[in-house]
Symmetry: C2
Subunit: 196 residues, 2 copies
Amino acid sequence: MARTKGSVGADTKTAIYAAAKKLIEAKGFEAMTLRQLAAEVGVQAGSVYRYVESKDELLQALMNQHMISLIENWEKLEGKGEDPVSRLKAFVAFHIRYHIERRADVVIANLELRSLGEEYRADVVTKRSQYEANLRRILSDGVKAGVFPKVDLEVAAFAIIAMLTGVCFWYRPDGRLSIDEIIDVHQKLVLQGVVG
Amino acid sequence: MARTKGSVGADTKTAIYAAAKKLIEAKGFEAMTLRQLAAEVGVQAGSVYRYVESKDELLQALMNQHMISLIENWEKLEGKGEDPVSRLKAFVAFHIRYHIERRADVVIANLELRSLGEEYRADVVTKRSQYEANLRRILSDGVKAGVFPKVDLEVAAFAIIAMLTGVCFWYRPDGRLSIDEIIDVHQKLVLQGVVG
DNA sequence: CTATTAATCAAACGAACGTTCGTTTAATTA
DNA sequence: TAATTAAACGAACGTTCGTTTGATTAATAG
């Protein structure tokens, strides 16, 4: 056999990326074999190389796509004129919602940095810091405006983002709470802590 | 050659576990090969099997040891009589300090669950939940005592632990802040949030 | 001093890995 | 309809993986 009936290159490429996300999320990048990936797409292992330069390049592409899209989506939504509290609440809501909806992307971006070749790693790390800068800016504006007490911006940003991203690792669609309720809990925690 | 001069089985076993932690932290479990592990110890690959049943069992042992020791160490330190705020502050300090000092263990326990065989995974997950229950209890006592406003205990515990564990992934010993300063920032964030 | 046990080496195993390549078939263009 | 290009197959490549085994040497016990 050779070319299969109804096969379209663009569709296969899309299917490869989707299957890769699914498998890497479930098993990890190193544990995913190209034969598993190919089987998930319904194709032979060698055929993947029509669409992908190498396994490493595939991981790089997935991570980069995710980071770029994350940054773009927040920039589209950001309301620069608003007060720091509203902006912070908006950031919390955006981050949780966006991450829950793209669980696989997030798990990959957070767990597979080690598997990424050094040539690519710096790129992803830079983009991540670029995204985190959005939160640092909100906090900084809040402190300057006297709305937030003085706090170490770098540590606070790391801490808040770790908290928010963590949702991806326990959230279940059929769980007890809705996404809105989860967002609400986190907004309160970020703003007022447990003492309130 | 065969048995080397001055070789002691117990020492080799210790060295194997230490080297495994180091390599898994750096490269991930799947990416670490037994030949790399053996080289780090200064031994041939086959020799590792005198001390380890299989690669999978090695990972299981590392994770289980870490979870058991984490639970035990908190129980030793826990002050049950104190007020919820003090207990919460103590928990934050303990968790950060313990995790920073055992970075490799923590990275492994948090990143390699997927690589753990199903037979073992439930065990580790149960132990993790057991540790998290300590925090839930503190929060619950605080809410009952009227010191903390009502909050979803499960989500709050997940959120706080994610925040605290996150320190492991950016902390550097030669960084700008000391561990005590980092703990301080986190205690304030957990208790009062950014608004204060 | 001898027998036994502990610890390691060195070589090999089959299986699976990522990747390459020549061939074959489907779709498109001329 | 004939020629060309797109898409996939299927077999093979050399390499590396986790693991097993039997020989070999060091330490210990009788």
